[in-house]
Symmetry: C2
Subunit: 429 residues, 2 copies
């Protein structure tokens, strides 16, 4: 029965529509109601002298952002959005919105991020905000399609865990019946156990939790991670896969979200593969020239360094050949130069999107590296056990969904890329 | 270079293969190594008088469940699995498995569930166990395809929350910086907020957490929930969708997992739609005849009652028209008979798989129902606010992924349907 608003055209004769009242303009004898649904807008025009009494009664009582159902004839008109309007013959208030609204949905200028997120159910009615999440869903769609088409097994790893993979920092503690537990900061160990189990190619798109205290525009304490792990693959193989994933995500957005993209003032282009690769040493050289603070081989890349290198590169790129010392213990050192390891970061000019590596699959080398990092193998017993019984060579990566969306749409704050962000100070809604 | 084992046929001339050593049989002059990868098995045959010295050296040192790479000629033979064998010309130990193994992978009889899950990375090497998770992945695949093809938006709702939707029972508490938080037991409120935001059709497949103390073969404390919510839809519309989802899941398993299904001693058939519907009152009548304990209108359905009704029904079915009193406050009462509500359960003969309802979208009716349940509207302020500003009519459901898999494959214990189960006593691996 009901027609979506985008499907009401100049050639439609009659329609039944349901939508939110985006705008009301009452000119006395004539009043206009701009309806909105997830597909678009439609003007309803009520001429008081001609409209049925029931329509006039209903129209009088309508507040902005209420939900109404209208049936009537559709007419072409130059003056209305989309070149057509509906003339209500019946009009029914389905759900009234109280006044005043906590947030003005029709206002062009966006309110502060905090006010918007406090009222996300209203904020996300704005076409541009809704578009972010349609695009995010198109990205998810592309990724599931890609991984399934390449024979990956989708896994669901536990989020409540007894111990930490990365050495125990920055975990949220939890009361699990009589025990202490933690929220998992990465599915990596579980992906690796599935390599041991012979699953060969696994992926998971799910929540990760990091109790980092810094409150920036590019960190979240609960985020969505896109994680893959592949057996009998080296770091180059999974860099290729990562490139395919990013390109597939952009390509699907280009293909399915052209209306949504028009709402953003961006130059949207599907990144070209192959992405250029520079070594960590080259990256440091670029940064050293461009930034004021000193930086040298062995240093982490600061935000300023990432920006300087990104400006130089001007597109998605990889940083490879990292010093073994500054990457996690599980990154595979090069056989002929163990000071350097088969880890990589995949970068957008604005920031890091993904980290990955060929992992160490040899139990004894892993123990050695844990000791080299000043950690105790005893506290990694749980992690180490699967490496004793036939762990194949494997590689993998994790990519932040929110950063992928944020950089794709040039959003100023990562909180824009998640419906209900969680940060140091925010637990609601 | 490397060929997957199922792709090595009688007609293959030469191959390079990698696999786990599933079985070793040493007959003196002749030894057999059954290799296994995620696609199948292949026998490698070493004739000591003929094989290269390097192969004999390597073969001697090989323990079961080690990972080896073999290159050689392939020959047809009646005596080997799949009617072919590989004669190693090179053989390389990639990753040694220590002996003894904590779990015997080749043994036909499965160990106790607890031992198996403690060593899941070995347990999941068993073809039948691995098959469960390939089938689970095929189910996930079918669901994503279905929801995307029907225009749903995939959302990721927060798992760390400040308050409870269902009234605050059975939540895991969490230390979130200086605040107390909880793990979310259902994405329902977040799905409903997206209805308010006009997203119209949303789905999420993600973790839910319930601190229920009972330790049974069909409850988990961390589970994967398949959740949908649809605006302008009533309970009948979303029951139809639920039916499509179950049928699509089974159909994709039938289509893509025939090898895996053969490992189960089950009569696998795609359920026929439409699923029969019985009212709660009819369900009680059936149960009352069949079970010893007394049961009457207004009672919850006990496990015994569910079984009795399931036996009578013999297939997937819906129970509709529940008493408003025993369903959650947000279920929509029938307009002409508010003692009964538009809630439903979708049942497999063995157990409940899904609950859903048309939800109350009217703020004042929701407040009334919260009071009727003896709850305080003040403590639901956070939940109620989005209902004040144009909430459309909507309906939805949640279905347990593990129960769907457990009933599909007739698994005795729900722990079999999840890689790393979490229960009252289990937090590892």
């Amino acid at each position: 029965m009901r027609t979506q608003l985008k499907d009401v055209t100049k050639d439609t004769e009659r329609a039944e529509v349901i939508g939110w009242v985006h705008e009301v303009r009452d000119l006395g004898g004539l009043s206009f109601y701009i309806l909105r649904d997830r597909t678009g807008f439609l003007q309803a025009t009520v001429v008081k002298k001609k409209a049925p009494e029931t329509v006039i009664e209903c129209a009088k009582s309508i507040s902005r952002e209420s939900v109404v159902r209208i049936t009537g004839a559709v007419k072409a008109t130059e003056k209305a959005p989309g070149g057509r309007e509906i003339i209500p013959e019946t009009m029914e208030l389905i759900s009234r919105a109280e006044t005043p609204l906590p947030l003005d949905v029709s206002e062009k200028v966006l309110a502060e991020v905090d006010t918007r997120i406090d009222n996300r159910y209203l904020d996300a009615r704005r076409p541009k905000v809704g578009a972010i999440f349609k695009i995010r869903s198109a990205v998810t769609h592309a990724l599931y399609d890609l991984f399934f088409s390449e024979g990956f097994i989708n896994i669901h790893s536990p989020k409540v865990v007894a111990a930490a993979t990365e050495g125990g920092t920055e975990l949220f503690p939890l009361a699990y019946f009589e025990k202490e537990a933690f929220l998992n900061q990465s599915p990596q160990l579980y992906k690796q156990m599935m390599m041991s189990a012979g699953f060969e190619k696994v992926f998971e798109i799910g929540p990760i939790f990091r109790a980092e205290e810094h409150n920036t525009t590019r960190h979240l304490n609960e985020a969505t991670s896109i994680d893959v792990e592949v057996s009998f693959a080296d770091h180059n193989d999974v860099m290729d896969l990562l490139e395919r994933a990013v390109v597939a995500a952009y390509a699907n957005v280009e293909k399915t979200c052209s209306d949504e993209l028009e709402l953003f003032d961006i130059d949207f282009t599907v990144p070209k593969s192959p992405f250029p690769k520079i070594t960590y040493a080259q990256a440091i050289d670029i940064a050293a020239i461009s930034i004021d603070e000193g930086i040298g081989y062995g240093d982490d890349l600061s935000t300023a360094a990432e920006r300087a290198i990104g400006e130089e590169m001007g597109q998605h790129y990889f940083i490879t050949d990292w010093p073994t010392e500054i990457k996690p213990y599980y990154a595979m050192p090069f056989e002929d130069n163990p000071e350097v390891c088969k880890a990589f970061d995949m970068m957008h000019p604005r920031m890091e999107l993904s980290s990955g590596a060929q992992r160490i699959h040899q139990h004894d080398l892993l123990v050695e590296q844990i000791i080299n990092k000043g950690l105790s193998p005893e506290s990694f017993e749980f992690y180490l056990k699967p490496f004793k019984y036939g762990m194949p060579p494997h590689s993998g990566w994790g990519m932040g969904m929110e950063r992928l969306i944020m950089t794709m749409l040039d959003l100023p704050n990562i909180r824009e890329a998640v419906l209900f962000p969680r940060d140091r100070h925010r637990l609601t809604p």
